[in-house]
Amino acid sequence: MKKRLLAVLLASMLFLTGCGAGGEKAPEVTDATETNVLYTNGGPIEFFETPWLNPGTFFYNKVLFDRLIVADENLMTIEGEGQLAETYEVSEDGMSIKFNLREGITWHDGEAITPEDIKWSIEYAQLVPALNPVINSTFSAISEMTIDGNSLTVNFSKLAPDALLAFTQFSPLPQKYFVDVEPAGFQQADFWQSPVGSGPFKVKEVQMNNYTTLEAFPEYWGGAADYTIQLSPSAGDSDENFVANAQAGKMDYGYTRSIDDIKALEGVEGMNIEQVDVRYTRLFFLNKFPNADGDSPLADVKVRQALLYALDMQAILDGVFDGAANPANSLTPNAADKPTDLNNYEYDVEKAKALLAEANWNPDTVLDVVYYYTDQLTVDLMTIIQSYWSQVGVTMEFRLVEGDLASILWSAPTDPVNGPSAVEWDICYAANAALSLHEYYDRYQTGQAINSHTPSDPTLDALIEATNNTLDPTEITEAFHALQRYENENLFVLPLYYQPVFVVTSDKITKGAPAVGNPQWNYNWDIQNWELGK
């Protein structure tokens, strides 16, 4: 009997310890005086991501921080006006920018925002390894910075064509929180558990991987909002619970690339969906360097053209994306400043076959296609492309690559002219998202660290260089047109399609919802002026 009693005792002890740990402290009572709540996603799981890598991907980075200057929804800088900088001036030759800071602005902790903070932020960012490419290329062109009273002048050593764009995305940070932080360990700083920003909202409560609330920053120079924001956790721009949360009324603002999400939300009452065409191109990188087996099958431009002619992209996109994505004819997405005379490589099996015959295509060749997305859609797409190519006698096999992608995908050959290739694939399915058009093309220049696939081409080098050499809008457009035409003819990559982003808003936002732009970047949101209904 004693034994049995002991057993029961032990068992109930186990139970109780469990209960004790489970029934943890109740969260403190929030003043439930009917403050309106804006629900969105992208909340932190383990930490807040720094705004320097993906400046606008996360909702919190948009609203916790101010940038120096501000862009409109098309990411064109609004002249003269700014956020932290009340005004700014660009020198005649574009080699220097002067930012005049607002008077009396403070960080969320009440300390003044000084030109020293800004200067320090830029200098520190130059040392941080994970930095947005446009910000990175702009900052590496900076030669010196001078402080004069409440203004900061940035001088460049060489022309930085995207400098203004970079400053619409770069959020300065308060220096004092980073005194002992190694730039390589920037993201690991304590600061990112509950960042102190400069924007219209500040952090109220953080329950990591659970929920996070932001409240209006009462001293914000542009005024204070009368609602709070609640973030549900999700990683970056893919939120697997997007639809469920939206259908449950817990998503007043959000964006997604997934057409399935959008299809599920169509017809949900009170939700508005806007399609935004953004700079996001899905493509095949083609490895034209010779490999161990000899010359690359893709070195011949006729083969590359044939591969594109063999794909009925419109039909594929209609099937897979319900027609929401557009077939691509260039890395550059469709926009007003793109040449209209590009070859669209409309689906033409006969032409593809003829080109392959001209190129003496060896039917035994098997193209090795790699991809790194783990979603079903990618696999479906690969299966479809495989079947299209098989109709013109081209065999391809596809596989997922994992692990050290930097070396698997982007190891550049020692000899950038003749190779041999330092990577093993023939074709890599990937996406290019770009803030600036330069990002699409600069990587193909001779000697770029990540050019694992395109042998040195003096014509291409010259065309790319031309786009980076001027600040004159007409000259830039012309340079890009020349580059795009050359790309269209030469097909050093196979552009496949342009994928839009869908911005989802609820009817709860009654006033002041921003003009629809690319939700992944920062533009003039004026979120402090939005109004929420019930």
């Binding site: 034994k3 029961v8 068992a11 209960c19 740990a21 692990g403 930097a406 190891s411």
Partner: protein
Amino acid sequence: MFKYIIKKIIGMIPMLIIITFLIYLLLEMTPGDAVSRMMDPEAIARLSEQELTAIRELYGLNDPFIIRYFKWLFQIMQGNFGTSITSGVPVSTIIGRALPATIELAIAALFISTFLGSVLGVLGAIRKGTMTDNLLTFAGMIGVSIPQFFFGMVCILIFSLNLEWLPVGGRTDPSVVNFFDRIQYLVLPSLVLGITMTAGVMRYARSSMLDTMNKEYIRTARSKGIPEWRVNLVHGFRVSLTPVIVLVGFRLPTLIAGSVVIESIFQWPGIGNTFSSAIRASNYNLVMMIALIFVFMVLFASTFVDIITALLDPRVKLEK
């Protein structure tokens, strides 16, 4: 008695060390390291050799594998669990905020499965061979045969989206004041996890009830004219107590595996959720610590079951 328990617990230590070593080895063999998971591949490819070495140095990734393992082990012995590579937050903090959620879910699921399982099992045994018994067996079988995630998603579809009775996921929200406000969040995940575990308990309870009912003293009780319901109630209760104890141990691995899947479906901010993302990120310290907890729980439970069985079974002598 104490000697026995202490011996058992000390016996767990070498096992824990071997297992942690294996996990570390596996992590080491996983293609790519923490840096290659943490940063965009293109950004890494742009870095110079020195820059990359400096970053890896910062995370202590440059030492050979064996040295890193022993460094880790040494730190653990001193009670220093290290920090998460991705966020720099102490591992203990991360686990500290995820563990209560998982324990809460596990206890709720254990409670549900134990209650349902033993009540239905005893009922099945009393009504042995009848329609009720068959139906119960059949229902139990359905419970174990449906893929957990599938069951979970259908539940969300029905109860959260169509009927709008319960939240789609998460554990709490800012308006929650006390535990009872939060129960609505707990209902679906714990039911799904609990129901999939019910069948096992039910089967166990049914057969042990049958065993007891055939025992001499029950027959005696019956012959003495004690009402049938009392016989059933008293012994049914006693029978259901055993599965609670024994099956806590047996269900633990199910609970752990289940927590990963269930937590991912219901956005439950627990340890399973943390664990799968830590593995994907090669977040060494975090993976090691959670794995250690899992292994410890399994070992502890099996030791616990050993002890309990020893206590309950008069044939097993403790002074071994």
